[in-house]
């Protein structure tokens, strides 16, 4: 039952996000647009490039979608409204997100094209760097909650959200989340201006549709993770818990979307340098600070 509800919520958020995306790009608010473009993807023929690595080419979009959904599976909408309340939820979502990389490497290698391949390998570097910035802030969060269970983590933020308790962690996590969702300005694997589409350059028709759906779902999943770990999940006055979760998630997702619109793409060199020389030390600092707070503050 929970499964169905969460899935519906996920799809709904994806739809809303797609509507907002269309709004920002075209300036027209058309609620039906996402569904229409989905149908249109069905209508277009889906071309298989010459001599592809067939298995990878076919698997990649589906794997990406599955991974995004799996990640969402451990994120609670409400105290009881969660697909799988694992004892290691906070670790599990990292595990799930790590497979985004696998999916993109497949999508890069599969179609046997230069642009796609460069895009895939680019993302390898990007994810290995920024997965650190996902894991380490989550560690700090888990330290405060003294548990890896996502529902407990949300519970631990009752009264004082983590965004206040560990703002540094939030900033790092938010940036890393954008990098993992490879949205602009972190869209190096798919940069249209540099790689003519990169990993999704070769996908057409239905496959492209799945790929786009997967990418939006990934954004929602990461936004939801941000909500759960830093924005106090379902906590909030008046409205029912699930409503708060959804509102916060959408807010985060949309802000991710807009940030990309008003920023140029990051130089790859800077992307790496900032993460390794600035981000990771800051993440360590964050862990230390949180540790001190946990020990000192009763």
């Amino acid at each position: 039952m929970n499964f169905v509800i969460v899935l519906v919520a996920l799809l709904g958020s994806v739809w809303l996000l797609a509507v907002v995306e269309g709004w920002t790009t075209t300036g027209r608010l058309r609620p039906a647009a996402p569904l229409l473009s989905g149908l249109a993807h069905l209508g277009r023929e889906s071309i298989v490039p010459r001599t592809p690595d067939r298995v990878f080419f076919e698997t990649a979009p589906v794997l990406l979608l599955i991974v995004a959904v799996l990640g969402a599976a451990v994120l609670p909408l409400a105290p009881t409204l969660v697909i799988a309340d694992l004892a290691t939820g906070a670790l599990f979502i990292n595990a799930a997100l790590a497979y985004v990389l696998v999916a993109l490497i497949m999508a890069g290698w599969g179609p046997n094209g230069a642009y796609a391949m460069i895009g895939g390998w680019r993302f390898l570097g990007q994810l290995i760097a920024y997965a650190m910035l996902i894991v380490m802030p989550i560690t700090a969060v888990a330290m405060r909650a003294e548990s890896l269970v996502t529902t407990v983590i949300v519970g631990s933020q009752d009264g004082l959200w983590n965004i206040v308790y560990q703002p540094l962690g939030f900033v790092l996590f938010f940036i890393a989340a954008m990098a993992l969702a490879f949205r602009a300005p972190f869209d190096l694997p798919t940069a249209p201006g540099e790689l003519g589409g990169g990993v999704d350059a070769e996908y057409t028709g239905v496959r492209l549709g799945v790929l786009r759906l997967a990418r939006l779902t990934l954004v929602i999943t990461l936004a939801s993770a941000t909500t759960v770990f830093y924005l106090g999940g379902w906590h909030g006055p008046l409205l029912p818990p699930w409503a708060w979760s959804l509102i916060k998630t959408l807010a985060v997702a949309v802000s991710m979307l807009l940030a990309g619109r008003y920023l140029p793409r990051i130089r790859e060199a800077d992307l790496m340098r900032w993460c390794w020389t600035l981000g990771i030390p800051l993440a360590l600092l964050n862990i230390i600070v949180v540790g001190l707070l946990v020990l000192v503050v009763p």
Partner: protein
Amino acid sequence: MTSDPTMTITGARQRQERFTVLQKWVSRALAGNLSCLIVPGPEVALSHGLDVTAAGMRITATPRDASVLLIIGELSEKMNEAVAVLYAQMPRPRAIVNLGGQTPSTLPDADFSAGVSQAGLIDAVDWLKRALAKGAFSDSPEDFDAPVLHARIEYVCPMHPEVVQNEPGSCPKCGMDLVAREAGEPAPEHDHGHDHREHRHHEHEHQHHDHAQQHEHHEHEHHHGHCHDHHDSHEHDHEQHEGHQHSHENHHDHGHKHQHGESDGDAEEKGSGHDHSGHHHSGHGHDSHEHGGHDHVGHGHSGHDHSGHDHGGHDHGGHDHGGHDHGASGFMSMIEVTKDLPRSADGLAMDWMEVPFGPVFPGLPGGLKLTLTLDGDGVTEGQATSLVGMINESEEGKEIGAETFIERLASAMPLASVSYRLLACLAIERAAGLENDSATDQARAVALECERIASHLGWLAQTGRQLGFAWLTDRAATLQLEIRRASGKRLLELTPALHALAARLGRTPLLKSRLKGIGILPSGTGGLSGPVARAADDAGDAWARLWQRLDEIITSLDYIKATGEPGLPVLRNIGRGSGTGEATVETPRGEAQLSLILEHGQVKSYRLDTACSHHIGLVAKLVEGRELGDALVAVGSLDLSPWEVIS
């Protein structure tokens, strides 16, 4: 222009058995979101004052994502070929819209053509919506096929690249069998393996297909060479090491994998076209897609090159070293193979791949073809060529009327038509010996400054497109369109907006770190002019050029404020004057110089010299050793207009 709104069947998609309800909905959806690929490029659409988004089409970066091919103006021969490849890459249902000029010979007839105007564009969109809603699926779609898409097969020696023949045989130098490759491909090695798979596939799986004559022929040739090789390698395996069964399994593996991909590909591509003709077509379909790689999406070949170069290594080994040098062990030494490969920046001898960017690439001005040799994400070398540049035709006895000459020159430079119109006028008037008339000169100068502003805004939009900076693209494009339409007074009303844009760019985070220190010109580079030259005085990098252009926008505005209304340059009455005239105009991209000989009001011969034809030479220096992203930014920051590259 077609009145009956049904898609010409070339573009339609193979329909299923019957026109199902789902297909009705899908057709509506397709009509609902049109996405177009603009040829030569969005910046041309802007400079013609076309607002594609307002007309209701999404501008896409790749042909894979486009359903409409929007061709604006006349195209050169080379561009025609490129366009054919792009069209072949677009998924059906696809349509061609042609604004101004006739459809390229390489393409099927345009589904809709009109003049270059917003009205024409809007009509086109309406027509497309109706047509797609009706005829997105037709029951007998012809497959698109163009001579460009057929590969010419030539035979080279894997060890001696200089040995190239049109028929198979053995290398005069080392005596080993020549391997086939498609003409105009960088790495001979990869093709071997690739053909290898090709014919085993053609031989074993698709024998019953009727291929195009020339293909049939070539496959036949291959077949021999191929089997021959095979035979050899097996012998090696037998007498030398136990790898035999392994490698055999590999070959089988490929054959199988390939056939799988290929046949599914047919099915995927042409819906349910499983009769011979269907296969026959899809054969070409594949060619086309593979070739598309060359010009736009760069898959196929370049991709092969990557894995190809290595395993090209294998070919060396397999046929040369493994076969002859150390015959004892059938092992192919990687040292042997990579010894002649160049070392990359990090000292590792990796395989390089030559990847084409453009002529229609989202990050570059349309018509500019940039060929980069990539080592992973780093550029080792590259050069740029213009596919649309105009040629100095000054052969004797061919006389052009003055007016027509001006028109021709102006239309040949879509990105700076006013400047070149002015240039032509001045030159002709000088030739005719007319005195300068201050009034007209002023009006002309103002017009020139207007165009400078518009052109720089166009460059900003282009940069935004390259950097994925959506806001900048939208804003600059809107302003550019307004300025094209604006009168002198309206222009002054736009002043605050332009100031705001500049300020905004100054505040944008990441932008500086993206542009600072990129594309610094080597000291003492000659032949510079325009913003590039003026920016070279301070930092001389992309960041400096950005601010140079922004400053020029502001100064031009001030000039206009001081001077007055713009007036489109028109030729004053020159009668049937004769003489030689020379004029120089500071176009938005730098100095352009035109000298011509006038005889009785007819332009007898002329020669034109522009800034871009010098700037394009800088590209090689700018991209070498840079990261891909930086290299593209550097090229973009030069604001090359391929039209203004005179060859």
